[in-house]
């Protein structure tokens, strides 16, 4: 089984988000970039397929040279080979179009993408890829087993879970549940050294016009101050809820 894990290079979840150029550009200064968490769950599951079922695991990202440390980390964790499409990820459509080309050229049986990236939260890439490639698609995937050409997946749905069976080639939009946070791997020193020798292929982007354009970013309004009311003072709480918050 040949697996491609699609990896997005995103700001660390603890980053302080700011914008520049009149709120039209994300300010990357001082930002630590990491593997998108939803992709990392997928990568960890792919490593399981590698170790238990002899799968070959490639990773791909759409990004400029500055994203290489992130993809190098995926190689250090154990992926066999990496592909970087040398272009800034303009929007979900653009990224999906580039990754679809990688999938087409690589002949993958299974493509694991994150359900969404935690930076722009578009949630479009795996679905658009599946449409472009006419491949089977399971989104919000929280469990995946593969037996020969058959796959069994569990997806999260409103208020429950749905178990589906399908066949390869398959694209999934994965998330936590594929593996748990405690299963996520930390690259070890030997892995880091071995990553040096692994192939990181840089390929030019294919022509694709982004479908959207960012015009302005806006941060959510800051949270209001919290008033603490002593547990013994229910009267004051009721008074505040009634007269100040006006919710009762």
């Amino acid at each position: 089984m040949k697996i491609l894990v699609c990896i997005s290079n995103v700001p660390d979840t603890t980053s302080k988000i700011n914008f520049t150029e009149g709120d039209t550009k994300f300010d990357t200064s001082g930002i630590q970039f990491v593997i998108n968490p939803n992709d990392e769950f997928g990568l960890t599951r792919a490593m399981w397929f590698k170790e238990k079922q002899g799968a070959t695991v490639h990773v791909a990202t759409v990004g400029e040279a500055s994203t290489e440390p992130t993809i190098r980390k995926a190689l250090a964790i154990g992926a066999d080979e990496a592909i970087r499409v040398d272009a800034a990820p303009a929007d979900g459509f653009f990224v999906a179009r580039q990754l679809a080309e990688v999938v087409k050229n690589g002949g993958y049986d299974l493509v694991i993408a994150g359900r969404e990236s935690i930076d722009y939260n578009g949630g479009m890439v795996p679905g658009i890829m599946a449409a472009l490639l006419d491949m089977n698609f399971v989104n919000t995937c929280i469990s995946l087993e593969v037996d020969g050409n058959n796959a069994t997946a569990v997806r999260e749905i409103d208020g429950g879970k749905e178990k589906v069976s399908t066949t390869l080639p398959l694209i999934i939009g994965g998330q936590k549940g594929l593996v748990e946070e405690s299963d996520l791997r930390i690259p070890n020193m030997r892995g880091i050294m071995m990553a040096r020798q692994k192939k990181l292929n840089v390929v030019p982007p294919v022509d694709a016009t982004p479908a959207t354009k960012e015009t302005r970013f806006e941060k959510p309004a800051p949270k209001g101050e919290v008033k603490l009311v002593d547990a013994d003072n229910v009267g004051e709480l009721v008074e505040l809820l009634h007269n100040e918050a006006k919710v009762i």
């Binding site: 290489e68 440390p69 190098r72 690259p187 020193m189 892995g191 880091i192």
Partner: protein, 392 residues
């Protein structure tokens, strides 16, 4: 124990001097420390017990012999990577760093540098995977700063050596599988011997009631007519220079490790000072707290630059014993002073196990003494610049 919110200070953008690989090594170790060390370390320190459960993790991330070549089970990383690993582990706890230091610099290094090919193949891969844990016996009850006065000795008995003597203050000794022991032969020349647990007459009693390195196991090595096979002698180097070569490597790691402890104390104090409100404003707004914090980050930055440059020199094979002494001495003193100041910033909270500061402070009392005391390192610098040793 509070959640580990550590953020690394990098005031002079030293990250720009590191390669992507260095950063990956550093971040991976940091991630492991946050995941595996921080949640448990305080409890082990409180009960004065070594967390053996961390041995597998230390081996798995590659903290045992990271600069030993891959053919012997190491990762073949450079010296700056080794330093960064030590920094990050000591950010968690000096005792855990000590275990990794001893295994790497004092056990794997002498076997790699002075051992036969058979010894390297027999011991190094198992030491790298943690299947074997080692310790290092140089210090004796009556010979600390003066190791050349050691009385531990071995006699050639034809088909084996007969080893007698005792070593003290040995990290890892209570559970180590092997010990690299320095002893004098009949001519009074110092040699290294690999002593294996189970050899008759070899015992390793634990040293109890420490107020420092409480999450690390320390003990003695006692040799009572121990028959050591001849193939366990390290033939590559003899004389005091052989164990001192190991200490150069370990002290180098300590120079980096101390920065980790200092960074953790500074980061904790800075966060606390910004959150703790007195007189209607955060204590970080007061001049006396700012003075403490500003001096801390200044000293950390200087120590980082010293360690980085030393790492470059070590990579080029140019670092001298005296340079390593200076860095070890400076950086450990820097860390212990920062721990004390940071404790003050936290007021009463600083003495509790809720925060790591007091544990670091107590640990550093050992770190400033072992691997060459604070005073001896000054004399090494003194001897180096004047050409006149003051300790002989």
């Amino acid at each position: 124990m509070k959640p580990d919110l550590f953020e690394s200070p990098d005031y002079f953008m030293l990250d720009d001097l590191l390669s992507e690989e260095h950063k990956l090594v550093r971040d991976a170790t940091r991630q492991w420390v946050k995941r595996s060390v921080s949640p448990i370390i305080e409890e082990y320190a409180q009960k004065a017990e070594f967390p053996k459960e961390l041995l597998g993790g230390l081996a798995e991330i590659g903290a045992f012999g990271p600069y030993i070549p891959q053919e012997y089970g190491g990762a073949g990383l450079d010296q700056i990577s080794y330093g960064l690993i030590m920094q990050e582990i000591e950010r968690g706890d000096s005792g855990i760093r000590s275990t990794a230091s001893v295994q790497s610099s004092l056990v794997m290094y002498p076997i790699f540098a002075y051992g036969t090919e058979e010894q390297k193949k027999k011991f190094l891969p198992k030491l790298a995977t943690g299947d074997l844990i080692g310790c290092f016996g140089l210090t004796e009850p009556d010979h600390g700063s003066n190791p050349s006065g050691m009385v531990t000795n071995f006699k050639d008995k034809g088909d084996h050596y007969l080893l007698n003597g005792a070593k003290l203050w040995i990290s890892n000794s209570p559970f180590a599988d092997i010990a690299v022991v320095w002893a004098k032969n009949e001519e009074g020349r110092i040699h290294g011997l690999i002593v294996e647990r189970g050899m008759e007459g070899f015992s390793t009693p634990e040293t109890h009631n420490k107020w420092s390195l409480r999450a690390s196991a320390t003990g003695e090595l006692i040799f009572d007519n121990v028959k050591v096979p001849k193939e366990n002698l390290l033939p590559g180097k003899n004389g005091l220079g052989a164990p001192l070569g190991c200490l150069d490597s370990a002290r180098y790691g300590i120079a980096w490790g101390a920065i980790g402890a200092a960074m953790d104390c500074y980061d904790t104090a800075l966060r606390y000072a910004k959150e703790r409100v007195q007189f209607g404003r955060p204590i970080a707004a007061t001049q006396l707290q700012q003075k403490k914090l500003a001096e801390m980050i200044t000293e950390i930055t200087k120590a980082q630059l010293l360690a980085f440059r030393l790492g470059q020199l070590k990579n080029e094979g140019k670092a001298t014993t005296a340079q390593i002494s200076m860095a070890k001495r400076n950086n450990v003193e820097m860390a212990i002073k920062i721990a004390r100041e940071a404790r003050q910033v936290l007021g009463g909270m600083g003495i509790t196990g809720e925060y790591s500061i007091m544990r670091h402070m107590m640990n550093l009392e050992s770190v400033i003494t072992y691997e060459g005391t604070h005073d001896i390192h000054l004399l090494i610098t003194g001897a180096d610049i004047t050409g006149i040793p003051a300790f002989s």
